[in-house]
Symmetry: C2
């Protein structure tokens, strides 16, 4: 492509409403433009990258044996009523009426449509397993769309749905999809982690998220230093420290701690680390048969934080998790929240595994202005119920027993999920098995946020000059920058010749033949993030050389003009050309 | 692709609600399935063809220098209010509200969005001309969607929009697009005609439609036997017969024609051809300054039909065209409509060019039960106003003076259009010219119905066994049918080997390895329309041969097994492989 005939719509200023780096750079590099909140036009340069992502996703899905289909964006309400989601799905479902007043939605996902299709098309177990995918425009009416295409309302998604006679077959395809997703993200040149998105309590590894690691990620991920274990931090299991609980060594004592309310206060005041203290949080219990909800105390080590998702799933705890008010606490226990502790507490107590491992610890005395030191489980206070209540922290043992946990931030770009019979049962999607018996099919679903991947890649690959594309999804792999080509016929000619040579070798090349100053051209090519840059100048031609600079390089280098192609083949990942 | 792992969803029965052959065959061949009225899912087989059409359109658009973008399907109402179309566009515009109650539509077209984009991005004449296109999902809320994807509500369209400093530049790009469209439809293997869609009265060739010729087409097209002239029949200019009007030879006579009311009646009764008679239609005139609308008579040759679009555009004629009632005619003229004629008619008369060329003709006497014979213009009745009032018919002289007109039916699959400043003026889309003056841009727009092309190709290419695909857009180019492969290891192996050989040579191959009877496989491959079929059988292998049959062939032929590839290269259009 010649830049002089191409929309290079770079911006010098960072648009004010772009909060994250990928949104800023996609606007500045001229990849996208905002049409309305959460609605973006892909300019030519951005679309080139989007299409390359699409192609890689499509090729790997095809390789996996999945079959591509294309379902309508607009879906009739009847199917969503059948599955029950017409009422369950919240404001993110864009509902609409056609000219005859009939209810439709702009699909955010296609479980209902594919299940309806397959229950009509497939009749026999012989046709299973089958996996169908599409790469298609979806709409999710986010209350507050932001971050550019990262959380747009209209977006492009690859969604796949598999159908099976039994759970074993679903598991096989699930594993195939797991491998396929790894292949896709490998080819996309992304640093990513497959993450257990399920607590593991029911159904085993029934769901994995694929996260691109990036400091700006919305999710925190815990993963093992020594195994493949990775889980969303909200879902990672927190183990107790290894070994037996130490034996008591100190006597129980009550100490005056006037005005000391927080764990930090107490640690400083008594000169002990927060990890030697416990905090006691009082929450609403589950309502009993009489409709009355009592209170429940949750006890954690002072340096740990409560995991509300884990806590509210526990029997006896109200969901959603609700902290008791100061007044409720005073009425029930007789002190302020800052002086709570498990000893002689008149409400049921649930103790976190790590807190349960402490000896000689410190806690509130359930009396304003006093704490207890040298507290020991069983000796001073019964240890009736121990549960996993907290968020994991760096250095925790990995739940799979291998290594310890590290914590990084991630952007979710893929999700694979065992749906089981949720939709097939609701919509009566059956086949006949080998005995002629009607069987409700098992289903899996597998999503990739195609447009989101473009932004996630930028979050992971950029510097202060702009985007740094992996070769596989760069809008152009090579930029040829001609200097003063409008004055030097030799430069213009050498640039054209090189352009043709590289194109014919299969490279995507942008010839920057614009009548702009060298600094402008260099800055634009770096902002756009083209991996390889070749500069053609009169000075270089006199010496028979070009100047080469990789986008991540700090130094330029001169290469012989006639070696340009072989040099590029060497430095680009397409060595097999 | 192996058919055993692919959704071959052929149907034996023709679905009852499919009215036209392409709709029937797309359902029967398992290309599409209906989700709701005007909403179709593309099954794997159909999508393959759709994607091939897309690819050809994209390649040729890229070659033309147009730049691909992707605009949102959902568009904010504000832009449509700016252009004025929010209120002008009828029920086909699918209007919707987001969760905050703001107005949007599911775009049926993107003039407003692209004009908004370009007025923000392009600032200088130096950036012009520029042409942007997308291949994208659109929605048109047809009152009565039908004919499958031919007139669906959700459909895929290639729409392009060009921007120019002046009309000359627009004209150049318009010509480039005209050539590009011809290239596209040539590559698609379609028999098509570019058709003047404009009357030619204002702005010259400001609009062309591209029609695929097919008996089921909704539009009638007139085209010259000897030139490129082609026009929608409603818009083709009807010329008078060549030469001077013949001189009168008969005297004017009134004859009794009791009970004879239609042109057919009169012709039979008097024994003359309808072309020697005239018919007189009385319609409403334009309302005068007093608000009173008088009547106007339109006179055509008896064998011609009125072109209402031409008639209602004439000064003095009410738009929309409205026939006078029998009562109005009797009050004004004193007879029934069947006895009308131009002689002594008390309302203004407009005479069609061909009717004006008659001598010694027959018409009603404006008296019930009587007609006039030997009528001659000027001698018996003044010829005050002559206009083009009628539809052209086969054999008419071509308006460009070259040859005569033929009439065929067509399906509109493309449209190129000079928009001029319609949108750029309404939305103030300007650039600075070379003198620094702000200039409103000229615009062109260029559409192709991508999904409709699939159906149009079938309308043009089918027989009683099914679809006949051109190689370029066939879902698979070659079908390998193995006979009894489940019993014969030799057949299964030879089939696999051939499959791999042809695939590696670049052919799209479907290996029909299903455990079905030969008759079922043959019928399916013919229904699906695969251009080339190779049969592997024990009998053939014993003789070292395969059986070949082209989809349009009546006879099969045996070819040596080892010549399969070279044979296919010879018979397929991909000779250059």
């Amino acid at each position: 492509m010649r830049a002089s005939r191409y929309l290079i719509a770079t911006l010098k200023e960072t648009p004010a409403d772009a909060e994250i780096i990928s949104h800023q750079l996609m606007l500045r590099a001229g990849m996208i433009r905002k049409l309305a909140a959460g609605l973006y036009t892909w300019l030519p340069l951005g679309l080139r990258t989007l299409r390359k992502v699409e192609r890689i996703v499509r090729e790997e899905m095809d390789k996996s044996g999945a079959q591509e289909v294309l379902m309508p964006a607009v879906q009739p309400a009847e199917l969503w009523q059948e599955s029950g989601r017409w009422t369950q799905y919240g404001g993110e479902l864009l509902r609409l009426n056609d000219r005859h007043g009939r209810d439709f939605c702009f699909g955010p996902t296609h479980e209902e449509v594919i299940t309806d299709l397959i229950r009509n098309e497939l009749k026999s177990y012989k046709e299973l397993p089958a996996n169908f995918y599409q790469i298609q425009t979806k709409f999710r009416d986010e209350r507050r769309p932001r971050f550019g295409v990262m959380r747009a309302r209209e977006f492009i998604m690859k969604d796949a749905y598999s159908f099976h006679l039994d759970a074993e077959s679903l598991d096989e395809t699930y594993q195939v999809m797991h491998r396929t997703y790894c292949n896709i993200f490998d080819r996309l040149g992304l640093d990513y982690r497959p993450v257990q998105a399920d607590s593991g309590a029911i159904g085993g590894n029934a769901s994995h998220e694929f996260h691109v690691l990036a400091a700006s990620g919305e999710d925190a991920i815990a993963f093992s230093t020594e195994s493949d274990y990775a889980a969303n931090i909200e879902k990672a299991e927190a183990l107790a420290p290894a070994g037996e609980r130490p034996a008591p060594t100190e006597p129980l004592r009550e100490v005056a701690t006037p005005e000391q309310k927080t764990i930090g206060d107490i640690s400083d005041f008594l000169g002990v680390a927060p990890r030697r203290t416990v905090k006691t949080l009082v929450v609403r219990g589950e309502a009993g048969t009489d409709g009355e909800a009592g209170l429940v105390a949750l006890v954690l080590r002072g340096d740990h934080t409560l995991n509300t998702i884990k806590a509210e799933k526990l029997p006896g705890v109200a969901e959603p998790l609700t902290l008791a008010t100061d007044e409720e606490i005073r009425n029930a226990i007789g002190c302020a929240p800052g002086s709570l502790g498990p000893v002689n507490l008149p409400v049921p107590v649930i103790v976190d595994r790590s807190a349960a491992h402490l000896a000689d610890f410190i806690c509130g005395a359930n009396r304003d202005g006093y704490h207890l030191t040298g507290v020991n489980w069983e000796r001073d206070v019964p240890l009736a119920r121990v549960e996993d209540l907290r968020n994991v922290v760096e250095g925790d043992p990995s739940p799979d027993g291998k290594g310890t946990l590290e914590i990084r931030r991630g952007i979710e770009v893929g999700h694979i999920f065992k749906l089981g019979k949720k939709y097939s049962e609701a919509m009566n999607a059956t086949v006949l098995d080998e005995h002629g018996k009607s069987v409700v099919m098992e289903m899996g679903c597998y999503g990739i946020g195609v447009s989101r991947i473009v932004a996630a890649s930028i979050e992971q690959n950029h510097d202060d000059r702009g985007i740094i594309w992996p070769d596989a999804i760069a809008p152009f792999e090579v930029a040829i920058v001609t200097l003063n080509a409008h004055k030097s016929a030799a430069v213009a000619e050498a640039g054209e010749k090189l352009y043709e040579q590289l194109r014919q070798a299969g490279f995507d090349v942008l010839l920057d033949d614009r009548n702009e100053r060298p600094g402008v051209k260099f800055a634009d090519m770096e902002l756009i993030g083209i991996p390889h840059r070749l500069v053609v100048s009169d000075r270089g031609l006199a010496a028979g050389t070009l100047e080469y600079k990789g986008r991540r390089d700090t130094d330029k280098q001169d290469i012989p003009l006639e070696d340009a192609l072989s040099f590029l083949i060497k430095v680009s990942p397409r060595k097999g050309l």
